[in-house]
Symmetry: C2
Subunit: 116 residues, 2 copies
Amino acid sequence: MKIGELSSMTGVSIRSLRYYEEQGLLTSVRMDNGYREFSPLAEEQVRTIQFYLSLGLTTEQIASFLTCVLKNKEAFCEEVLPIFEQKLKEIDGQLLLLSQIKTNLQDRIRSIQEER
Amino acid sequence: MKIGELSSMTGVSIRSLRYYEEQGLLTSVRMDNGYREFSPLAEEQVRTIQFYLSLGLTTEQIASFLTCVLKNKEAFCEEVLPIFEQKLKEIDGQLLLLSQIKTNLQDRIRSIQEER
DNA sequence: ATAAACCCTGACATTAATGTCAGGGTCAAG
DNA sequence: CTTGACCCTGACATTAATGTCAGGGTTTAT
């Protein structure tokens, strides 16, 4: 299928699909006219990419295990676990920071409201 | 005082001090030689700026109430409350998103570990 | 008077995925 | 054969605070 079809089937912009290909997340063959031709499997693949992106992984991280994950269960791909664990640590750090800021903001808001 | 002094007193880079001035957060007068001269009050002011930055506010938001806040209590500055409340909403949104991702990651990590 | 340590401005780089535009081919239907 | 709907590449823009470099003036101490 052509890139426009893949785009409308997945809801992912053509620009992003080209970017995924550039980053090695997606492959296509070129037709005589230079157009990209994607396999039907690409749809599933794009959804998988989007899913991992929604977990906050980078294209580079996704690229490191995508091929394996598309063929096997996640548990089968050695790369996956360390990346998930690292991401989890990052998120815990962010959660901590954000809660501290939240508490601080709430305190200040409260004290402003009391003072009025 | 000169910018280098202000920088070492506050731990904020010269580059950032110039940026704060550019964004209207900080003022200085120019000496005959073109050097910036800061008032002694600038030290406190820089710390205040850094504090609000650490809450995740932008220089633009800070600029909108900094002058008032430097002279009065926060409760006195009308601008402050809506900005704090908006930021709080933002943070709640981020917290929610991050916790969802965290849960998802934890589930996946667990299921990988079980499968090994 | 020279060297070290300041200061100045202006500009480009950083991050990461995506939007958007320009300039130009290709294809299909009328 | 023309028009509209595709496709291509390449490039710049986005965000926000900060780092860094170049090229050049100033001050201070020796």
